[in-house]
């Protein structure tokens, strides 16, 4: 009797182990390889020309856009440098940490710099502990809406309550909404939403849009989506004093794995604060990009994990 029970217990444990190893991987997010990340960025960069050709707009705009693109590229490089510097600082600070961690960090730094080396899978637990530790360290540096310090040279968050929108002063910026990473992660995608997924992953091709002085990224997105009859849902998050974009074009957060959702990028940088707190300037390039892996697949991990990566 006892033997039988023991056997049954072993059998059940074996079955669970089998199930774990066979089906456990089904939900895991497969990160895109760095080539594809580059491709995504490139493609979004190209679209303005493409779109402009289609519209046949005047040449002034073209020049503007190419200028802004150059700016974007420069700022991208700058941001990468920024990140690198930060990491170096971190490493210096954590001198007494084990060597392994440092090595890993260096590797990651290389990754963000060159985007050629394949991302080394880090132990999730270790990563989590590191993030929590980093978070605790930065506690006094955070502002009252829990935002980590913004890197030098990047615009500081502006509370939308303090801003008065000046309707007389019209400015322009470039806006695009894309979800190309979904095309690479179709195994995670909610198949009910297949009909709303654009084939090329572009929901709103890059276009120059006008806005009024003092408006945030959120205001511009809302106005353009309404104007173009593209569906969009958002919710106010008081703890971060910003609107959170739940879904655009019926593509919602969590529709492509549990780490998916919408992120935004201004002039090639993923801000680490909400879209209602980013006050736009003339000529800014705003990109709304869908991520399937908390920004890691589109090169925006820094905004999510804070000063960690």
């Amino acid at each position: 009797m006892n033997k039988k029970r023991l056997l049954a217990a072993i059998f059940i444990i074996g079955l669970l182990a089998l199930a774990f190893f066979c089906f456990g991987d089904g939900n895991e997010v497969v990160p895109l390889n760095p080539d594809e990340v580059g491709k995504v960025a490139e493609a979004t960069g190209v679209t303005p020309y493409h779109n402009e050709d289609k519209l046949g707009d005047n040449e002034d705009n073209k020049v503007n856009i190419s200028l802004s693109q150059e700016l974007q590229r420069e700022s991208e490089e700058a941001s990468n440098m920024e990140i690198e510097r930060e990491e170096k600082k971190d490493i210096e600070m954590e001198e007494d940490k084990p060597k392994e961690v440092k090595e890993e960090k260096n590797k990651e730094a290389n990754f963000t710099e060159k985007k050629t080396e394949k991302e080394k899978p880090i132990e999730p637990k270790l990563e989590k502990e590191k993030i929590i530790e980093e978070d605790n360290k930065n506690k006094d540096k955070k502002d009252k809406y829990l935002t980590d310090p913004v890197p030098e040279g990047k615009p500081k968050p502006v509370e939308w309550q303090d801003v008065t929108i000046n309707k007389d002063k019209e400015l322009t910026c470039t806006l695009s909404v894309t979800c190309k990473t979904i095309l690479n992660n179709m195994h995670l995608f909610n198949m009910d939403k297949l009909e709303v997924l654009p084939e090329d992953g572009i929901i709103y091709g890059a276009q120059t849009v006008t806005f009024y002085e003092g408006e945030s990224v959120f205001d511009v997105l809302l106005r353009e989506m309404k104007k173009n009859k593209i569906h969009m849902e958002f919710v106010m998050t008081p703890i971060y004093n910003s609107y959170y974009i739940e879904g655009i074009n019926n593509l919602y957060e969590f529709d492509c794995g549990e780490l998916s959702g919408w992120m935004y990028k201004v002039n090639g940088w993923f801000p680490n604060y909400g879209c209602s707190r980013y006050m736009l300037k003339d000529g800014d390039v705003v990109e709304w990009i869908y991520t399937c892996d908390l920004g890691r697949d589109i090169g925006g991990q820094w905004a999510v994990t804070g000063g960690e990566q």
């Binding site: 009910d192 009909e195 709303v196 809302l222 309404k226 569906h231 969009m232 958002f234 019926n250 919602y252």
Partner: protein, 297 residues
């Protein structure tokens, strides 16, 4: 109101019927299924409780249904058909409105089924079914279901007794009324505590939960029950086949989509209709039979 002969069937049939019907109306959101379940639950509740049910359904359930249907699009903005924008900037979509209406209908249907369940599955039937398998749980379950009506009746008794000595909540000034009310509540609490102990003692002294005990009511699983049970099982099987094929569900987001209606789906609809209407059908045939016998004598 005619006598409910479905209640006179074996408890296992009553229980299977309600279990199937409740689960089906909870999970199948297809509009045809919702309509069938709603109409059947409505009819059966009126058949069981008469005018009281009509009043309850129209006065409470209909406004509740409307409220639920309006509530959904205020918070859920999914869907491809944008009708208009809310003041906040979020869209109101056709899909979310229809989903709200469907879920409200489902909710009300389930409530109606439970009101029928309470009439048919009395606590002695429930204890007959589960008293031996799960004695403690089935007792608790039947006590919980009886809790509110019982206390309501007892409060009425106490209140009437207090009225005789001029101490009811309907007598005196506002402070006196409050004092009387609190007094009644205190009597009620004392009675409830004492009654609980008495019940426990009484049940223990009668050996509740011991093996080989018989129930208060004795039911026989006769030929009529066998036939009905087979019919119910067959209908459930057909509906489940439809569920496996995906005929019974509907996708609301991002756009509304159902599987195409074929000849077989019509069979499933009819099977579901017969299943839901079974007590009504049984009651009507019994009534006709009775009238026929009466007219012959």
């Amino acid at each position: 109101m005619i006598t409910d002969s479905f209640s006179s069937f074996h408890p296992i049939i009553n229980f299977t019927y309600f279990l199937a019907v409740l689960l089906f109306s909870m999970f199948f959101m297809h509009p045809v299924f919702l309509a069938i379940a709603f109409v059947s639950a409505f009819t059966y509740s009126i058949m069981l409780k008469g005018r009281k049910a009509v009043k309850f359904n129209v006065l409470y359930m209909m406004p509740f249904m409307l409220f639920m249907a309006i509530l959904n699009p205020a918070f859920n903005h999914q869907g491809v058909t944008i009708l208009f924008y809310l003041k906040s900037g979020n869209p109101v979509t056709l899909e979310s409105i229809l989903f709200g209406a469907a879920s409200a209908c489902m909710f009300v249907t389930v409530i109606l089924w439970f009101s029928c369940y309470n009439e048919v599955m009395t606590s002695d039937k429930f204890i007959y079914l589960f008293g031996r398998i799960i004695p403690a749980l089935s007792l608790i379950f039947s006590m919980v279901l009886r809790f509110v009506p019982r206390y309501k009746a007892q409060i009425k008794v106490i209140s009437n007794a207090q009225k005789c000595v001029g101490r009811d909540v309907s007598q005196g000034g506002i402070i006196k009324k409050a004092r009387n009310g609190i007094k009644i509540l205190s009597i009620m609490t004392t009675w409830a505590l004492e009654n609980a102990i008495e019940t426990a003692d009484s049940m223990r002294s009668r050996g509740y939960g011991l093996p080989k005990r018989t129930s208060f009511s004795i039911f026989r699983f006769d030929n009529r029950d066998k036939v009905t049970f087979t019919v119910i099982a067959g209908l459930i099987a057909i509906v489940l086949i439809g569920a496996v094929q995906g005929q019974n569900t509907i996708r609301f987001f991002p756009s509304i989509k159902t599987t195409r209606i074929t000849g077989f789906s019509l069979i499933i609809y009819i099977a579901y209709f017969v299943l839901c209407m079974l007590p009504v059908i049984i009651n009507i045939t019994e009534e006709i039979k009775w009238k026929y016998i009466v007219s012959r004598t």
